[in-house]
């Protein structure tokens, strides 16, 4: 643990932060273009060629709008809540591996002291549990926003949304257990390496886990078909009713960043992550770069599927939503754990 | 037995745990809101967790971390039952302040 490593971590984090914010901004543009395509109209195309400066225009609008504080809100909680949402959305990017290791050129290796650049900011021993922990924390942003707004519709929306999110954390975690059993480790880089032979989605327990995980993933990010708590015709807008301008922009960014994070997690856990298919470039120094390319393609596909599902399916009513979470997904996830254990023992040999 | 865990002496961890425990005891003694008393009890449990893990890392025995895992599970169970009792009391007496729940006082 020396200061060299800390400097490299700081540089990686800073670079990743800027890349993520830009990706999130263009994701909002992509959402509007895809929505327009599904609804048979044109999306934003005025702000630049093909509307490419639209996120910049949105950003300027959010920054320059007047900040309105409702009377009699608890100022501290009102301002902290969007901060918690955005912080948790950004924190979960620190463990996602974008590729393997890039071997450094000799001159750079002498300068920094190590020979390979790991494309992951941190690789703790409990990789995937860290993501579950961060999604547990993001509940606080919602509940503090709803409570501190001094508005009964916000509070109702916040309580419904919180109950939905904590209910769907259980199928999320339980479906991950099947994947962890098959991979033999919690670290995301090792889960990815365990998929060099066959992607986990093509195995029976992995497929069931993928179905459960994708349903829980929509509920965790408060997206349609599970967005009763923030739907516009329901409870005004739910917990972010009283938030305008930049604070609303923070909630907005947090939601889209959560969607991209979940897409990355789905590709890492079920669809082979950054493995180059058929092991073509094994051992070559371009392996990591090709891996990044395939990873990004898969993430873009899942991000597109979020938008596709949103503009296709109708919304669930609240009691059917809780019914699915507790009475259908959790028993299937538990059965899946047993199936996964049987699969690991009898089909793959012993773990580890 | 190591006296340095990640570069910090073991006694610093023990002092932090003692401070948290003392603050928790103060919370139980001074406050009247039953939920805040419950939260102070959780503070005390966390202080004990910190001591367990500090000694586990210092002596190299993994049993301390396993005990902490069980303490967390038990604290979760205690939270569920304790808050259920508070909700039931609030339904009848419309208060959770412990000095107003005095029907059995002579």
């Amino acid at each position: 643990m020396d200061w060299n490593l800390i400097l490299v971590w700081a540089l990686k984090s800073g670079l990743l932060f800027f890349i993520i914010i830009t990706a999130c901004a263009y994701y909002t543009l992509a959402e509007r273009v895809v929505a327009a395509f599904i609804q048979d109209r044109r999306g934003p195309n005025r702000a630049g060629p093909f509307g490419l400066f639209q996120p910049l225009a949105d950003g300027i609008k959010f920054l320059t709008k007047e900040e309105v504080f409702p009377t009699q809100v608890n100022k501290a909680m009102y301002l902290i809540a969007p901060g918690i949402s955005v912080s948790c959305a950004i924190m979960s990017w620190s463990i996602i591996p974008f590729g393997g290791t890039i071997p450094l050129h000799n001159s750079i290796a002498e300068l920094v002291g190590f020979k390979e650049l790991n494309l992951q900011v941190a690789n703790p021993d409990t990789g995937i549990l860290f993501l579950l922990a961060i999604s547990s924390l993001s509940v606080y942003g919602i509940i503090l926003a709803g409570w501190s707004s001094n508005n009964k519709y916000s509070l109702m929306g916040a309580i419904r949304s919180t109950a939905q999110m904590i209910s769907y954390e259980l199928p999320l975690g339980l479906s991950l257990t099947a994947v962890i059993l098959m991979a033999g480790s919690l670290k995301l880089s090792e889960i990815n390496d365990a998929q060099k032979g066959i992607w986990f989605v093509f195995t029976l327990p992995g497929f069931m886990a993928f179905l459960i995980f994708s349903v829980a993933m929509f509920a965790e990010t408060n997206r349609l078909p599970f967005d009763l708590a923030e739907a516009e015709s329901e409870l005004v807008v739910g917990f972010h009713t009283e938030y305008g301008a930049f604070k609303f922009a923070l909630f907005f960014i947090a939601e889209y960043m959560n969607m991209i994070t979940m897409s990355c997690v789905v590709t890492l856990l079920f669809f082979g992550g950054y493995n180059v298919p058929f092991g073509i470039l094994e051992g070559s120094s371009y392996n990591a770069l090709a891996g990044i390319l395939f990873f990004l393609l898969k993430v873009v596909f899942f991000a597109f599927s979020f938008m596709w599902v949103r503009w296709t399916l109708p919304r669930f009513r609240y009691d059917t939503l809780m019914n699915i979470g507790w009475k259908k997904l959790i028993p299937w996830a538990l059965i899946n754990i047993v199936v996964s254990a049987v699969y690991v023992v009898y089909w793959k040999g012993s773990i580890g | 037995m190591n006296t340095l865990i990640s570069g910090v002496p073991l006694t610093y961890y023990l002092s932090l745990a003692a401070a948290m425990f003392a603050i928790g005891v103060l919370g139980v003694l001074l406050r009247r809101n039953a939920v805040v008393i419950f939260m102070s009890v959780e503070l005390m449990l966390n202080a004990v967790n910190l001591v367990f893990i500090a000694f586990s890392k210092s002596m190299g025995i993994i049993g301390g971390e396993v005990i902490v895992f069980f303490v967390m599970a038990i604290a979760a169970a205690e939270a569920a039952v304790g808050l259920a009792i508070l909700v039931a009391i609030h339904r009848h007496k419309k208060t959770v302040f412990v000095d107003e729940i005095n029907l059995l006082k002579w």
Binding site: M1, W3, M77, D125, L129, F130, L132, A133, S136, L137, V139, Y140, I143, E169, L186 | M1, I5, S6, G7, V8, T11, S15, L16, M20, A22, I23, L26, G27, L30, R32, N33, V35, M39, S40, E42, L43, N46, N49, L50, I53, S56, G60, I62, G63, E65, V66, F69, M72, A73, A75, A77, A79, A80, V81, L83, A84, I85, L86, V87, A88
Partner: protein, 190 residues
């Protein structure tokens, strides 16, 4: 800078300051929601301290179980019961409370002095994260795992299996008990 001070030691001091500050806010603030949020901050900084100590599994469990589940339950209860602020928090005038504070500070001072005088023999300093479990019916095969999570998991399921099963029964009993206690009476008025 002393020679054993590593960069993560600075993190320990910052996090312990946050921890003590937010614990004091839990105990002394009159609004129960602010108390609950301060307790969340205290638990989160404590999870950070566990991570500095290399107990990464317990740090993650602290965030998932304590901040992510127990404190959400506490905040729900506070909000749904609409608890009012505590108005008579007169610590500095009530003599019984003053005696209580002095007593607790004395106990804390005693624990502090005892822990400062605790000088065990220094052993060999490498924190090896591995766990070995020997099966005791004569065969030589055992289980050896490396890494913090693997060690805690192997230890739980091999050596401490009975407490694990008992805790699972206890959690089931607690869930059933909580539902039964907090349910509304259908016969009487609610």
């Amino acid at each position: 800078m002393p020679e054993e001070l590593q960069p993560q030691s600075i993190l320990f001091f910052i996090l312990s300051g946050v921890c003590i500050g937010s614990s004091l806010a839990v105990v002394l603030h009159k609004n129960p929601v602010i108390s609950a949020v301060s307790l969340v901050l205290s638990f989160f900084s404590l999870a950070g301290i566990y991570a500095v100590m290399n107990a990464i599994f317990i740090a993650t469990m602290q965030v998932i179980v304590y901040t992510g589940a127990i404190m959400v339950l506490v905040i729900f209860v506070i909000m749904l019961l609409s608890l009012r602020e505590e108005t008579n928090l007169e610590i500095w005038r009530n003599p019984v409370k003053q005696i209580a504070i002095v007593f607790v500070v004395c106990i804390f001072g005693g624990i502090l002095v005892a822990s400062m005088n605790f000088n065990p023999e220094i052993g060999n300093g490498d924190p090896i994260e591995s766990y070995k479990f020997l099966i005791q019916n004569g065969q030589n095969s055992g289980v050896e795992v490396k890494g913090n999570t693997a060690s805690v998991g192997a230890s739980t399921f091999l050596q401490y299996l009975l407490p694990f099963e008992l805790v699972s029964i206890l959690l089931t009993v607690a869930v059933i008990g909580a539902v039964v206690i907090a349910k509304r009476d259908k016969l009487n008025q609610s």
